[in-house]
């Protein structure tokens, strides 16, 4: 079960997944990112501080946007992950492919 909130700060879209993203709920994340892109945001932050768990289905959603973001010059940064969630990204080496930082301030700088 995941609940996903969105809020905007200074032209940056902030996506806030709350709970667990797995095969039953990764579609919610996908739809939310697609909506953000569709609305024309080029700076997207993902606040992971309330993300308790992410399975490969959720990781796959982030991966699937990498090329589109490069093509459209969209910058995305993820921040606030707990140790277990960050470990999930690291096992697959995705921490090298995505921008993952500790704090919101750092994330804002990365997409500025």
């Amino acid at each position: 079960m995941v609940q996903i909130k969105r809020l905007q700060e200074d032209g940056t879209d902030i996506i806030v997944p709350i709970g667990e993203i797995d095969a039953s709920s990764s579609i919610e994340l996908d739809l939310t990112i697609a909506k953000s892109v569709g609305e024309g945001f080029t700076r997207i932050l993902v606040d992971c501080s309330a993300l308790e768990y992410i399975s490969s289905a959720g990781l796959g959603v982030f991966m699937s946007y990498i090329e589109e973001f490069n093509d459209k010059h969209i910058k995305m940064a993820l921040f606030g992950m707990n140790d277990k969630v960050i470990n999930t990204f690291e096992i697959l080496g995705l921490s090298e492919l995505l921008t993952i930082v500790a704090t919101k301030e750092e994330a804002k700088q990365k997409v500025a």
Partner: protein
């Protein structure tokens, strides 16, 4: 110690499976990080089974067994009667290809193979048994 869980093939049940694994292994002094990795791998195997072998039919049931003994590898057994998908015979795609093809799948098998020490398949009494093992530290 053996723990057993029987569940229908609806992805909504994945959360219950994760809670079952966490609850079972916490009694044995396994570290949170080891538990979280095994949860990831078994979640992946169960979601694959639900989606690909049982088309998310909630009336199809399968069993998950966990064997946890101090100083032995943790053993998971997933028992069902669907089509077997042997991950050992599957070549996981390169990360670069996953990005290029915008694939949302393909990461899971890489994850399972990275986390678990061994994955093997057997058949018994018309049922498929997928046995996954991982060596962990018991405190």
């Amino acid at each position: 110690m053996k723990y057993s869980y029987k569940v229908g093939c609806s992805p909504e049940n994945l959360r219950g499976i994760r809670d079952f694994i966490r609850g079972s292994l916490r009694n044995h002094g396994v570290s949170d990080l080891d538990i979280s990795e095994m949860v990831l791998a078994i979640d992946e195997m169960c979601s694959n089974l639900m989606i690909h072998a049982h088309h998310c039919n909630p009336n199809d049931l399968f069993e998950l067994h966990i064997f946890a003994e101090k100083n032995h590898p943790v053993i998971f057994e997933i028992i069902d009667d669907g089509t077997v998908f042997d991950i050992n015979k599957f070549h996981e795609p390169e990360l670069g290809n996953i990005i290029h093809e915008k694939r949302k799948g393909g990461l899971g098998i890489r994850l399972v193979k990275s986390i678990m020490d061994n994955v093997e398949y057997t058949q018994q009494g018309g049922m498929n048994i997928c046995r996954l093992t991982k060596r962990v530290q018991f405190n």
